[in-house]
């Protein structure tokens, strides 16, 4: 694979779900200058580990605002943050409820389904 012989970026990625001890996994990904952190995460899901959770919708347009994560301690959009050749640490937002890996609860409270059960009208008449 030609891509594997070129430039590499090294990512330390938080893995884990609520109630379990989180851990970091290290992935090396091939990259071309200009690529973003989200590009790398999508590459890992296709080529290495499809169980990695990352939330995004619009991919590259900075329109959906769903891919907000912590990169080297700063809150950023993964789709807007360029990869570098040095090691980068990716974590979920520290001030939000963890859902899985890099995903946190970011929906406005009045647009959430209560996680514990049904909402609104009772299910039966």
């Amino acid at each position: 694979m030609a891509a594997e012989c070129g430039l590499k970026a090294r990512l330390r990625i938080h893995r884990g779900t609520p109630g379990t001890a989180g851990r970091f996994e290290v992935h090396e990904v091939p990259f071309e200058p200009g690529q973003t952190v989200l590009d790398a995460l999508r590459w890992i899901r296709i080529h290495r580990d499809p169980s990695l959770a990352i939330r995004f919708s619009c991919i590259n347009a900075n329109a959906c605002k769903e891919c907000m994560i912590n990169v080297d301690g700063r809150t950023v959009y993964a789709c807007m943050t360029r990869l570098t050749e040095s090691e980068t640490t990716l974590e979920p937002l520290p001030n939000k409820t963890l859902i899985r890996d890099l995903v946190t609860e970011i929906a406005p409270p009045d647009e959430r389904l209560r996680v514990t059960g049904s909402f609104g009208e009772p299910t039966e008449e």
Binding site: L52, I59, E66, L113
Partner: protein, 537 residues
């Protein structure tokens, strides 16, 4: 959960439908698999919205219809096209009253002339902000309507059908993994399009054809599935982040710009004007590339070097800084553009009340097929979302008002815990399917490639036909498998319809049948039956 009207999908069509239904007295649940107003196509729209307002020059919706039908290459469903154009001015003015902020001159709303329109008819929001402004405005309206319950992260896995009637939907709350039953007197599919099926697309990850797959499995007809629109001048190179790849459209309608081949020749006879409709421009660019006159990355040059820095700033303000942050200076360099999957003309077959063939099931927006025929006119997509959404909401509410609440069971086979998660890497399979579709079922097609694509699509069926029960926590592997299952089914519809249509028309160009045939001036319908996809014309 029970409601009068269930709206699935919270882009412009779904949000307008929810507002329309609530106005007509219905209680509404507006559900989206992502976040409300943020996950679909609308928020990404950076172009214009067409409506015969007559602000810039005198206009009438009949002229808008005439242009729409002409662009549709003889395949528009005229009653749907008329509804789109006739209701457009009212929706645009309503959005104006709600404060969307259409760009204005001192006296009137500004309208530009996009390709294929006979006069300036297209409104927009500066700077390159039409979609976000539309989404924000509709969300703000929804927040004021207590009869609408908005709920994100709810993925509908199948419609609930009882005695042939739609009685709501089965869904999964993707955060908790909880399986939900949404019980509704009337249901509206506003799930958008399918362009995620192509490797090169301007889609969000939610545009995987969910609504088409749901409708098919519920027994509804699809129509015109072979007509996928490629936007001709999608961004290709250099790498650009934070901008949608369709962003060069506003540049062209404001500044003209020159589309050039590798020999720096304008190959579309535009003379610096933005006049070529999408099917023509797409095929012209691909022909230049095929003839060896493509750019280094396989597209065409788009140049604004005739514009001064001051002109660029006046037209696009802060966008020029965002380009600079990407290392792009339009006064000094041309950029590379190429066709990109952008919109689906085909979709769910409806009447002018937006009713599908399944009683109590409606559709709205891009999910609907027929209004735009074989080639959509620039500016008609958001208009279609507004007008069809509003109509679907009103009609669904009226039907719900005379319907008793149906009860649905939870018996459908949408997620069995004893079924093991597929061994395949569905994320990788989606990427492969996107490559196959781009290569063989893109703008240029031939029987050999279509056959190979269908073989690939058929081979995938067994791997993704059954969905296991989801786990909590936005389970990525389950979501990919869910998406692959729908993408695969919809891909089969497109490829089969494309193989059967032995002519070239609009977005469907057959290299082995290059002529347009009068015999083929007709729709192809698709439904599920006899164990698979069935085509009728």
């Amino acid at each position: 959960m029970q409601t009068d009207v269930l709206v699935i999908g919270a882009g412009a069509a779904g949000m307008y439908a929810a507002i329309g239904a609530a106005r007509a007295g219905a209680r509404v649940v507006l559900a989206d698999r992502s976040l409300i107003g943020r996950g679909g196509a609308t928020v990404m729209a950076q172009m214009t919205v067409a409506a015969a307002l007559g602000e810039e020059t005198p206009d009438h919706w009949e002229y808008h219809v005439a242009d729409t039908l002409k662009a549709g290459r003889g395949l528009c469903e005229p009653a749907l096209s008329q509804l789109l154009c006739e209701d457009a001015p009212e929706c645009i003015r309503e959005m104006d009253n709600w404060g969307v902020g259409w760009a204005r001159d001192e006296k009137h709303i500004r309208q530009v002339q996009a390709p294929g329109h006979d006069r300036p008819r297209c409104v927009y929001v500066d700077f390159v902000n039409t979609g976000p402004a539309v989404s924000k405005t509709l969300r703000a309206q929804l927040n004021r309507i207590p009869e609408v319950r908005r709920v994100g992260d709810v993925l509908v896995t199948d419609l609930a059908i009882h005695d042939g009637v739609c009685v709501g939907a089965h869904a999964v709350h993707v955060i908790s993994g909880e399986v939900l039953t949404l019980n509704a007197k009337a249901t509206i599919l506003a799930t958008g399009g399918l362009t995620r099926l192509y490797a090169r697309n301007s889609a969000s990850i939610n545009m995987g054809g969910d609504g088409y797959a749901l409708a098919l499995r519920a027994g509804a007809d699809l129509v015109d599935m072979e007509f996928v629109q490629f936007f001709p001048i999608g961004h290709l190179a250099p790498r650009l982040v934070g901008m949608d790849p369709i962003m060069w459209d506003p540049f062209r309608y404001k500044l003209g710009g020159k589309l050039l081949n590798a020999e720096l020749q304008e190959f579309l006879n535009e003379d610096g004007r933005y006049v070529s409709v999408r099917d023509h421009a797409t095929h012209a660019i691909l022909e230049e590339v095929a003839a060896g006159r493509g750019t280094p990355h396989g597209g065409a040059w788009l140049s604004f070097r005739h514009c001064s820095e001051a002109e660029l700033r006046s037209a696009f303000g802060p966008i020029i800084d965002r380009l600079a942050a990407n290392g792009i200076d339009l006064t000094r360099q041309a950029i590379e553009v190429a066709p990109i999957a952008h919109y689906h003309m085909g979709g769910i077959r409806v009447d002018t009340d937006m009713q599908t063939g399944v009683p109590h099931l409606f559709a709205a927006g891009e999910a609907v097929g027929g209004a735009n025929g074989a080639n959509r006119l620039s500016g008609n997509a958001i208009t279609e979302a507004f007008t069809f959404g509003r109509r679907a909401g009103l009609r669904a509410a009226a039907l719900a008002a005379k319907t008793a609440m149906p009860l649905i069971g939870q018996e459908t086979d949408r997620g069995r815990s004893d079924f093991p998660l597929s061994r395949i890497n569905a994320a990788a399979e989606i990427a492969r399917l996107q490559q196959v579709m781009n290569e063989h079922v893109g703008p240029l097609r031939a029987s050999g490639g279509l056959g190979r694509a269908l073989e690939h699509i058929t081979d995938l069926a067994e791997e993704c036909e059954q969905l296991p029960a989801p786990r909590a926590g936005l389970d990525p592997e389950w979501l990919d498998l869910h998406d692959l299952r729908n993408l695969r089914l919809v891909a089969e519809c497109i490829a089969q319809a494309a193989l059967a249509r032995e002519e070239s028309r609009g977005a469907h160009q057959r290299q082995d049948f290059p002529e347009t045939s009068e015999r083929w001036q007709r729709h192809q319908r698709i439904r599920l039956g006899g164990g698979g996809v069935r085509l009728e014309s």
